[in-house]
C-alpha cells in the first residue's frame, strides 16, 4: 500500500514537473496591478493558464514611474518581459530604440477572439506603417469634483468653463485652512509628468496643441493663454500651495481625503476615490471648456517586446485580455471603458454615473492624443515642469515660459 502511494506521489510529481518543463513561460511587465487590485490580475493569469496549459505567465508589477526605465534597461541587456504594459506617450522613443514588435500580422489572425475594428482607435493608429500597441482599456482626462466642498462654498453644480472653475476654486480655497481649490502637481520628482496630467487637458479644452505633426509647437498663442490661466489661478489663490513640490500621487491623495475641491486627472482614478472615501460627495465631469470640446484620451496599452523569444505566446495572452468577457471585467475593475468596445456593458454605462460621464465625453467630444508621435516626450515633460515652476514662482512670464520650453524641447530632439 505504502509503495503504491509513493509511486502515485512520484508519478504525480513527475507529471507536474514535466508539465512545468514543457510549458513556455512569458513575462508580463505592467503597473496596472500596482494601481488596482493585484489579486484580480493574478486571477486573470490563473484563468489564462488554465485555458492554455502550455503557457505560463509571470506577472511582474512595478510602479508606473519604474516601468519605462525597466523596459529600456531590459532592452539594453537583452533580457526582459515579453508582454509590455505601455503608455501611449512612450511610443516614439520606444520605436527609436527598437523595443516594440509590429502587431499587424497578429491583428490580422482569424483566431483572435475580438474584432480589430471594435478596438479603441487612438493607440492602434499606424506609425511608420505599423500598429505597435493595443488598448487594454480607455479613459478620458476629467475633472473630479468634491461636491460637498462646492456646496459649502455656495455652488450647486460643477464648473462648465474656465471662468467658473476659477471662481469656484477661489471660493473653496477661502473656506478654511488646509482646504484648497485645485492642486497642480508640478514637482520635479519622477515621473515629473504634472504638465501632461493637468496642463494638457486644460489646453485641449481651449482647442490648443503642443505638437505640429511630429515637431514641437509649444510657443503658440493657445499654449500661452493656458499658461496665463494657470498663473491667474495661482495669483487668485485658487491653487493648493506648494505646486513645485506637489506630485500627482499627493494630488490624488489630498482629493481622496476631501481637502481639495477639484482634481484634473485620468478618469481611472475614480475607482480609487470611490473605494477609499465612500463618504465623499463626488462627481466626475468633463474638464471645463474654453471654446473647445476636446479631451485628452488615455488608456493602458499592451505591446510585445521586439526581442521576445515567445511572441506567439505573448500574443495569445494579449488576445485573451482583449476577448469580450475578460476585457469587460478588466474595464469594470479599472473603472474605465474597455479597450474592446464590444465588451462595453450598456447597463453599467447607463446606470453607473462614473461610466455614464465617461461615455458621454467619449461619444460627444473630440479625443486628442498627440504625444504618441511627439519626439523625446518624457524629457519634454521635465522641461515643461521646470519652466512652469519658474513661471509660477514669478521668475518669467507665460510667453517666456512657452518660448523656453519650445527652445529646450527642440534642442532635445537634435
Amino acid at each position: 500500500m505504502k509503495r503504491a502511494m509513493l509511486a502515485a506521489v512520484a508519478a504525480a510529481a513527475f507529471g507536474l514537473s514535466a508539465n512545468a518543463l514543457a510549458a513556455t513561460e512569458i513575462e508580463w511587465l505592467q503597473w496596472f496591478a500596482a494601481e488596482q487590485n493585484a489579486d484580480f490580475y493574478e486571477g486573470l493569469v490563473e484563468e489564462f493558464e488554465a485555458a492554455h496549459p502550455d503557457i505560463r505567465v509571470k506577472l511582474v508589477t512595478q510602479p508606473f514611474g519604474k516601468v519605462r526605465e525597466s523596459i529600456v534597461t531590459n532592452r539594453a541587456i537583452g533580457v526582459g518581459a515579453d508582454v509590455l504594459g505601455l503608455n501611449m506617450p512612450w511610443t516614439s522613443e520606444f520605436l527609436e530604440l527598437g523595443i516594440l514588435e509590429p502587431l499587424d500580422d497578429y491583428l490580422a489572425l482569424e483566431s483572435n477572439g475580438f474584432d480589430t475594428a471594435r478596438l479603441v482607435q487612438a493607440p492602434i493608429g499606424k506609425i511608420d506603417g505599423s500598429t505597435w500597441m493595443v488598448p487594454l482599456n480607455a479613459f478620458p482626462f476629467v475633472l473630479h469634483v468634491n461636491l460637498g466642498l462646492l456646496e459649502r462654498a455656495g455652488f450647486d453644480k460643477p464648473p462648465m468653463d474656465w471662468a467658473e472653475l476659477k471662481e469656484m476654486a477661489v471660493a473653496v480655497s477661502r473656506l478654511e485652512d488646509g482646504v484648497s481649490g485645485i492642486g497642480m502637481p508640478f514637482s520635479s520628482q519622477p515621473p515629473a509628468n504634472g504638465p501632461i496630467l493637468t496642463f494638457l487637458p486644460l489646453l485641449y479644452s481651449a482647442g490648443g496643441r503642443i505638437v505640429d505633426g511630429t515637431t514641437p509647437d509649444f510657443d503658440n498663442p493657445t499654449v500661452v493663454e493656458t499658461l496665463s490661466f494657470l498663473q491667474e489661478l495661482d495669483e487668485a489663490g485658487a491653487l493648493t500651495p506648494g505646486v513645485a513640490s506637489r506630485t500627482g500621487g499627493v494630488d490624488l491623495e489630498e482629493f481622496i481625503a476631501g481637502r481639495t475641491g477639484f482634481l484634473i486627472s485620468p478618469a481611472v482614478h475614480a475607482s480609487a476615490i470611490v473605494a477609499r472615501n465612500p463618504e465623499l460627495d463626488y462627481r466626475l465631469v468633463r474638464v471645463p471648456q474654453n471654446g473647445s470640446k476636446a479631451y485628452r484620451v488615455h488608456g493602458w496599452e499592451l505591446g510585445i517586446a521586439a526581442d521576445s523569444r515567445h511572441k506567439d505566446e505573448a500574443w495569445a495572452f494579449i488576445a485573451f485580455l482583449l476577448s469580450e468577457g475578460v476585457n469587460a471585467r478588466l474595464a469594470e475593475a479599472s473603472s474605465a471603458l474597455p479597450g474592446n468596445l464590444d465588451a462595453l456593458d450598456d447597463d453599467a454605462a447607463a446606470n453607473d454615473p462614473v461610466f455614464a460621464a465617461q461615455r458621454d465625453i467619449l461619444e460627444n467630444d473630440e479625443p486628442v492624443e498627440e504625444l504618441r508621435q511627439a519626439p523625446r516626450t518624457v524629457a519634454s515633460w521635465s522641461v515643461m515642469t521646470e519652466e512652469i515652476q519658474s513661471m509660477l514662482a514669478g521668475d518669467q512670464t507665460p510667453e517666456q515660459a512657452a518660448t523656453r520650453v519650445q527652445s529646450r524641447w527642440v534642442d532635445l530632439t537634435r
Binding site: 519605462r68 526605465e69 529600456v72 532592452r75 539594453a76 522613443e93 527609436e96 530604440l97 527598437g98 485652512d177 488646509g178 514637482s187 520635479s188 520628482q189 519622477p190 515629473a192 493648493t240 500651495p241 506648494g242 505646486v243 513645485a244 513640490s245 506637489r246 499627493v250 481637502r259 523625446r376 518624457v378 524629457a379 521635465s382 515642469t385 521646470e386 515652476q389 519658474s390 514662482a393 532635445l412
Partner: protein, 293 residues
C-alpha cells in the same frame, strides 16, 4: 610538491572572491568607461567611437558645473551636519546616566539610520508640506506668516535637503564616535580633572586629539557615500525645483533614463568615479597611517 600545494591553498580560497569581484565590479566599470568614449550607446546599434569628445562637451556644459557645485554644497553641508550632530549626540549618550536610559536614548537616536531612503523622503515630504507640521508649528509660534514650500522653493530646497540628509546620516558618525570614546583611557580625563579642566577643555584637549584619526576616517567615508548619494535626493526633490538641487548622481540618472543620452550619463558617472577615487585614496592612506599607529 606538498609544500607547493600548501602555499597555493590560500590563493585557491581567494579565487571565488576574486571571481565575484571581477564580474560584479570590473565588468560594469569597464563598460561605463567604454560607453563614455562612444556616441549614443544603447540607442544606436552601431555606436561610433568619439574618443574624449563626450568629456569636452561635458566640461563646456553649464548644467554639469551647476550640478557639480550643488554636489559640493550638498556633500560638504551634509558631512558637516553629520559631524556636528553626530559628535554632539555621542557625547550626550556617553554621559554617566542610568544604563537603561542610556540604552533607550542610544536606540532611539540610531533610528534615522535604519529607515530606507523612501521612508525618509516620504516622511519629510509630509513634514515639510505647506500644510504640514513644520509649517503649522512655525506659524503657530509666529516665526512665519504663511506656509513655506520648503522643497519647492529654489531658495529653500537645498537647505531642506541638507536638513533631511543630516537627520538621516548623523547616526553613523554618532555610533563611530561613541565606540571611539570607549577607547579613550579614563586616566587622561582624571588627569585633566586634577588640572581643573572643564568639559570644553577636556573635549578639545583630550577627546578630539585622541579621536582625530577616527573623526578623519569616518568623515572621509561619509564624504565618499554622500558624494554619490542618489535615492534621497531623487525621491525628495527629483533635483528640482528647476535644477536647484540637481547633483551629479541625479544628473547621471536624468541623462540616462529621462533623456536617453547614455554616453553622456556614463561620462558624468566616470567623473564621479574619478572624484570618489581621490576621496577613497585619502581614506585608505588615513587607515594605513592608523594601522601603523
Amino acid at each position: 610538491m606538498l609544500d607547493r600545494l600548501h602555499r597555493a591553498t590560500p590563493y585557491a580560497f581567494l579565487l571565488p572572491g576574486l571571481f565575484i569581484l571581477g564580474t560584479l565590479l570590473s565588468v560594469p566599470l569597464y563598460k561605463v568607461i567604454e560607453y563614455s568614449l562612444f556616441d549614443n550607446v544603447i540607442i544606436e546599434q552601431q555606436p561610433r567611437f568619439v574618443g574624449l569628445d563626450n568629456y569636452t562637451e561635458l566640461l563646456s556644459d553649464g548644467g554639469y558645473w551647476s550640478a557639480l557645485l550643488n554636489t559640493a554644497i550638498f556633500t560638504i553641508g551634509s558631512v558637516f551636519g553629520h559631524l556636528v550632530i553626530g559628535i554632539g549626540l555621542a557625547l550626550l549618550v556617553n554621559a554617566d546616566i542610568h544604563p537603561r536610559a542610556r540604552t533607550l536614548f542610544r536606540s532611539l537616536l540610531v533610528l534615522p539610520w535604519i529607515f530606507t531612503a523612501v521612508v525618509v523622503a516620504l516622511n519629510w515630504q509630509l513634514l515639510l508640506n505647506p500644510f504640514g507640521v513644520v509649517n503649522y508649528s512655525l506659524q503657530a509660534i509666529g516665526v512665519t506668516d504663511e506656509p513655506l514650500d520648503w522643497l519647492g522653493d529654489p531658495d529653500l530646497a537645498m537647505w531642506s535637503l541638507l536638513l533631511i540628509s543630516t537627520w538621516r546620516g548623523y547616526p553613523f558618525i554618532m555610533i563611530s564616535f561613541l565606540s571611539g570614546l570607549q577607547s579613550v583611557p579614563k586616566e587622561l580625563y582624571e588627569a585633566a580633572d586634577i588640572d581643573g579642566a572643564n568639559f570644553l577643555h577636556k573635549f578639545w584637549h583630550v577627546t578630539v586629539p585622541q579621536l582625530k584619526p577616527v573623526i578623519y576616517g569616518v568623515a572621509l567615508l561619509d564624504l565618499i557615500w554622500t558624494f554619490q548619494l542618489f535615492p534621497l535626493v531623487w525621491l525628495t526633490t527629483g533635483g528640482g525645483p528647476g535644477r536647484a538641487t540637481e547633483v551629479l548622481s541625479t544628473l547621471t540618472y536624468r541623462l540616462a533614463f529621462v533623456d536617453f543620452q547614455f554616453s553622456q550619463a556614463s561620462t558624468v558617472a566616470v567623473t564621479i568615479l574619478g572624484i570618489s577615487a581621490v576621496f577613497t585614496m585619502l581614506y585608505l592612506s588615513n587607515e594605513s597611517r592608523r594601522t601603523r599607529g
